[in-house]
């Protein structure tokens, strides 16, 4: 099956002399949920920024649905929805107006937009807040609005950075249920998170980044194997991978 996202030999960062990411390779196929995990500063957000096109790779190539950003920016950008780590909303717009803006931006059919936005407002328990300004919402609610906006256009790829920050238990549950649904419908999901128990339970594969390098990737079995402990949980395997089992060493 043709991957939705393919990252090939990505080396990148904020300065050519000091790259943050070193030769990263991975791909995500339709119907897969992939967890991107790593310590603070491991390069998760930098990887995501490169995929979004906010940063230019020093080396390597990123393709979404077979195209690079330079080849066809419209096709590239309309193929994914993004949920940033901290909600980025327009203070002067209400929840409903954000959905309308997203619908317009992703060219969602008008009838489909009406139906989807109502459905999302209901699922995320946001109907009473539909006319509230985003600036007046709590952090968790802002995150819900971000997620609703990502789900609205039903793209083939979802890029989600720390989605559970600030969400209440109901919000986390709604999000996970929706992610499983979109995955089952054939979409691909790249999710970065520190909540390893949830990542282990919901993701099909894992990408373990450490100091800008991919130290392990694959399903739970493969990650366990690469960590050197075939019975470990994801959390234990991760700990071994990033500390070398003895504190701070790198495991390859």
């Amino acid at each position: 099956m043709e991957p939705v996202l393919r990252v090939d030999g990505l080396t990148g960062g904020y300065s050519p002399r000091r790259p943050v990411l070193h030769d990263i390779h991975f791909d995500i196929k339709p119907g897969e949920m992939v967890g991107l995990i790593g310590l603070n500063g491991a390069g998760k957000s930098t990887t995501i920024k490169h995929i979004l096109g906010l940063m230019k790779p020093l080396k390597g190539e990123i393709r979404i649905r077979g195209t690079t950003l330079e080849q066809d920016p419209q096709r590239y950008r309309s193929s994914f929805a993004y949920v940033p780590e901290s909600p980025v909303l327009f203070d002067e717009m209400t929840v409903q107006e954000h959905l309308r803006l997203t619908g317009m931006a992703y060219d969602v059919d008008a009838d489909r937009f009406e139906q989807r936005s109502e459905q999302l407002l209901e699922e995320f328990h946001m109907i009473p807040k539909r006319t509230a300004f985003s600036g007046h919402l709590s952090k968790g609610m802002k995150q819900k609005v971000m997620i609703m906006n990502a789900l609205l256009p039903e793209p083939p790829l979802y890029i989600i950075d720390e989605p559970f920050l600030g969400l209440d238990p109901l919000g986390i549950r709604s999000l996970l249920e929706r992610l499983v649904e979109v995955k089952n419908s054939g979409a691909a999901i790249l999710m970065s998170s520190h909540i390893l128990a949830t990542v282990e339970m919901y993701c099909d594969r894992f990408l373990v980044l450490h100091r800008g390098k991919m130290v392990a990737q694959g399903n739970l079995e493969q990650v366990r194997e690469q960590s050197g402990d075939r019975t470990a949980s994801l959390e234990e395997a991760f700990y071994r991978l990033v500390t070398g089992g003895d504190g701070d060493g790198r495991v390859t």
Binding site: L52, G53, L54, P73, Q74, R75, Y76, R77, S78, Y82, P84, V88, F90, D91, E92, M93, E97, R100, L101, G103, M104, A105, Y106, D107, A110, F113, F133, G135
Partner: protein, 413 residues
């Protein structure tokens, strides 16, 4: 301890002054002071004409009350407080009196000077129109006392915990002051003093009712942020400055316009910019400017200043300010991540913004030209026709090109 807080107050004031100094220089270089001077000269010509041909039925009570009420009631307070002060200065709340004293001195002095200037302009009108005018010194002293009481009441308002109650009390204060000034200008002074005393007791009673904070930290911080935002919004019209988060108002009487925009892929940025323009302070400022412009043009039309060319010049001046203000839209969402994420061609961003700015200038222009057209009824045809024609050519043809070019240049920089 109190001394160090006072030091911090002075430090923050100095820091703010240092921060805005470069923008002040940009503002001076932009020619704005010249424009302001022109407005003052025009105003003085109108004022001189009014004094020379003073109408016997001049409504001095209404005019005096309208111009004096805002100056007497408006009681801003710059405290230089930051959001982080809730964590760091709150434990020293009992010492904050020193800072407050300095803040009041900082704001009241210019307030009294402004009131004095307004009196200097109003008194010649009052003395000509009133049949039995009070001595000017008594009038000024009375207004100064009322201003002081207003400042004290405004502090009590700030302490009120519920926003609804605070707004109601403020509205009541403005209404009562309005009536007190009307009474001051129309009846004997001792009657006014009695009435004033009654109102003071009423205000004291009302202010006792709601729950109050001893020191309204959140209120003062919000007020400080709003003031800074205003400064930056003003300087933003002349220079490229980092913007503070915009204050948002619902404005349903305007924002329905965005809802009427057709749901379409190529309208995405237009939808965003229309809502930004209408809901942020920019929209409020444009509404106020247009209404003020309409009033000033109407008054200049009525006085047939310079055979109608005075009104035409005022229309151009207001249109120029509106154009500058509307162009400040380019400061909005400049660094928004969504511009790089949305699947939209990049040119649509600038094109949509230009369309919104040009349309806004045109709509405000149309409103300004309504009172200008009254010149036609006075047989003065050329001033309105020439000015409207030239402005239309500018808005429809020159402005879009000029604005697009500016956006492209800023993007390159």
């Amino acid at each position: 301890m109190g001394e160090s807080l006072k030091g911090l107050w002075q430090q923050r004031r100095a820091a703010f002054r240092k921060e805005v100094l470069p923008y002040l220089q940009d503002m001076i270089r932009s020619g704005f002071p010249g424009f302001l001077l022109l407005l003052i000269i025009l105003g003085m010509i109108g004022y001189g004409t009014l004094l020379r041909d003073f109408p016997a039925d001049f409504p001095y009570v209404v005019v005096g009350t309208i111009v004096l009420t805002p100056l007497v009631c408006y009681s801003p307070l710059r405290t230089w407080l930051h959001p982080a002060d809730v964590a760091f200065l709150m434990p020293r709340e009992h010492e904050m009196g020193t800072c407050l004293g300095a803040s009041w001195r900082h704001n009241l002095l210019p307030g009294f000077i402004g009131l004095g200037i307004m009196f200097a302009l109003f008194l010649p009108l009052y003395e000509r129109a009133a049949s039995n005018p009070h001595h000017w010194a008594l009038l000024v002293a009375f207004a100064a006392i009322v201003k002081g009481l207003n400042a004290a009441a405004s502090w009590r308002e700030r302490q009120i915990a519920w926003p609804g109650a605070r707004r109601t009390v403020r509205l009541l204060r403005w209404i009562l002051t309005f009536f007190l000034l009307a009474v001051l200008l129309s009846v004997a002074l001792w009657k006014t003093a009695l009435f004033g005393l009654l109102l003071v007791f009423l205000m004291l009673f009302v202010l006792r009712l709601p729950i109050r904070h001893s020191f309204p930290w959140e209120r003062l911080i919000a007020e400080e942020e709003r003031t800074r935002r205003r400064y930056y919004r003003f300087f933003g019209s002349f220079a490229d400055i980092p913007t503070l988060p915009a204050k948002v108002a619902r404005r349903p009487y305007l924002s329905w316009i965005a809802g009427r925009l057709q749901y379409a892929h190529n309208h995405t940025y237009k939808y965003l910019f229309i809502l930004t323009l209408l809901r942020t302070e920019l929209g409020g400022m444009l509404v106020r400017l247009t209404l003020l412009g309409m009033l000033v043009i109407y008054l200049t039309v009525r006085s047939t200043l310079l055979e109608g060319w005075g009104a035409a010049a005022v229309a151009i001046l207001f249109l120029a300010i509106i154009r500058v203000q509307a162009s400040a839209l380019r400061q909005s969402h400049r660094h928004s991540v969504w511009r790089n994420i949305y699947p939209l061609p990049d040119y649509q961003h600038n094109q949509s913004m230009t369309q919104v700015v040009a349309t806004t200038t045109l709509v405000c222009g149309l409103m300004l030209w309504l009172p200008l057209l009254l010149l036609l009824a006075q047989g003065l045809i050329w001033p309105p026709l020439i000015i409207i024609g030239l402005s239309l050519i500018y808005i429809l043809f020159r402005l879009p090109r000029q604005f697009l070019k500016k956006l492209a240049k800023e993007q390159d920089d």
